[in-house]
């Protein structure tokens, strides 16, 4: 296996591992939202501005989980494609070797057809991989977008929390955990994107 194929395998495998961490964090946000909702309910009027925010956080977390679930299915397809491309490339390289070794053989020319078929299939695989990576990068971008939105909401939450009297600390803690989680998601997804970006359609 050459280093290009190796790093392609690693890039695809890293999506799944980074995303499983994103999943855990998104679930944490969802939990923080539920928690915040309970506090806001108890705080009543003092946390009036906080209540719609909790719903928003919850929705954001749900959407992130849904997106990541879809991306995971896609990442598996991408992995299969990588395996297939590897097999096809390996075969093509062997066929070229056959042609070299068969110089002077009576039927050496008959190898031309399998070679050109293998080349076409290999190139199709490479193109398909690039197309799929470009699409996956788009989906990852959507997750990043959600993470950015969550950070904005966390900032708003902090402001609202400051008006919640004795609930200030617990609501601030909620805002804090949303912010932290959004940060983690952003970083993980960013790493996926960097790993994949060299394979995108140029």
């Amino acid at each position: 296996m050459n280093s290009q194929t190796k790093s392609q395998f690693i890039a695809v495998a890293s999506i799944t591992s980074e995303l499983s961490a994103v999943m855990v964090v998104a679930k944490e946000i969802s939990l923080a939202a539920a928690n915040a909702k309970a506090i806001a309910f108890r705080a009543g009027d003092k946390a009036k501005g906080f209540q719609p925010i909790t719903d928003f956080i919850n929705e954001l977390a749900k959407e992130t989980i849904e997106l990541v679930t879809n991306i995971n299915v896609y990442a598996l397809l991408l992995y299969r494609l990588t395996v297939n491309e590897y097999r096809r490339t390996a075969a093509y390289n062997r066929f070229e070797q056959v042609a070299k070794l068969a110089v002077g053989a009576r039927y050496a020319d008959s190898m031309q057809e399998p070679i050109s078929t293998a080349r076409t299939i290999m190139q199709d695989c490479q193109r398909q991989f690039k197309r799929d990576v470009t699409q996956l990068l788009g989906q990852l971008e959507a997750v990043m977008h959600h993470a950015r939105a969550a950070r904005v909401i966390a900032a708003n939450s902090r402001i609202e929390a400051s008006q919640a009297g004795e609930y200030l600390q617990s609501l601030q803690a909620v805002a804090e955990s949303v912010d932290k989680a959004a940060h983690t998601i952003h970083d993980n997804v960013q790493r996926c994107r960097i790993a994949l970006s060299i394979y995108r359609n140029s």
């Binding site: 097999r87 096809r88 390996a90 075969a91 062997r94 066929f95 070797q97 056959v98 070794l101 068969a102 053989a105 009576r106 039927y107 050496a108 020319d109 008959s110 190898m111 057809e113 399998p114 078929t117 293998a118």
Partner: protein, 242 residues
């Protein structure tokens, strides 16, 4: 890759082996082809490492599109791990291999090649007008294996049976049986699990008219060495790994 014609009649048998460029850490193996006017059967196609030199060697005898049939005596990688590559090179081919091993052998890659499962009691396959008998050789050493007998050429391709491991460049036929025995003894005692299976095989094979015994590793036996081998194997205690 060394090529040796071992039968020339209305069809041909060619033995391939002793590849000089083979990596040192994989065992040497013999491949065979049965060549008819328009078709070519590849017996024991070999491991992945051997694919390119093997295919290039076959191109001296047949064009790619006439390689229509493959045969694997059993499921081992030195016999058939090249399948995934043949699968991508041949557009219209069949693999004759044990029914019992189908799900295993397919791990090597078998999408375009048609897997033709051989039932436990063997069968006859036809390559154009050549009829080949597929003879059961279970537990020798694989729990499910088959050998190929060509009554016209009087050749028995006997897979693992009769195998020996030789220095690179060794002659393709046994020259002194008494010397050769020592190269086979440990392999047969350790790899063949059943005296009962061995006896059944010897009894069956004694009834065949054989000029050449063609194993998957080492040297072939011809003439009187065929009977010498059968007598030697008959009296050998096997299954010594316990």
């Amino acid at each position: 890759m060394k090529m040796t014609k071992i039968y020339e009649g209305a069809h041909q048998w060619i033995m391939f082996g002793r590849d000089e460029n083979k990596p040192d850490n994989i065992i040497d193996s013999n491949q065979y082809i049965v060549r008819t006017a328009n078709k070519c059967l590849l017996l024991e196609p070999g491991g992945t490492e051997l694919f390119a030199p093997m295919m290039a060697a076959v191109l001296h005898h047949a064009p790619v599109e006439q390689i229509t049939d493959l045969f694997a005596s059993h499921q081992d990688p030195d016999v058939i791990s090249s399948l995934g590559l043949w699968d991508q090179a041949l557009s219209n081919a069949k693999l004759h291999a044990p029914a019992l091993w189908e799900g295993y052998i397919r791990h090597f890659g078998c999408e375009s090649i048609q897997y033709v499962p051989i039932p436990d009691n063997g069968e006859t396959i036809k390559i154009e007008s050549v009829e080949l008998q597929i003879i059961p050789a279970h537990y020798l050493h694989s729990p499910c294996g088959f050998h190929v007998y060509d009554p016209q050429a009087k050749i028995l391709m006997c897979g693992s049976v009769g195998s020996a491991f030789e220095a690179p460049g060794a002659p393709v036929f046994v020259e002194r049986f008494d010397v050769h025995v020592e190269k086979m003894r440990y392999y047969h005692q350790r790899m063949m699990p059943s005296n009962q299976a061995k006896r059944a095989w010897v009894d069956r094979v004694r009834n065949l008219d054989i000029d050449i015994l063609a194993p998957q590793h080492g040297r072939m036996f011809k003439g009187d060495d065929v009977k010498r081998f059968l007598d030697w194997f008959d009296s050998l205690q096997v299954g010594t790994g316990i």
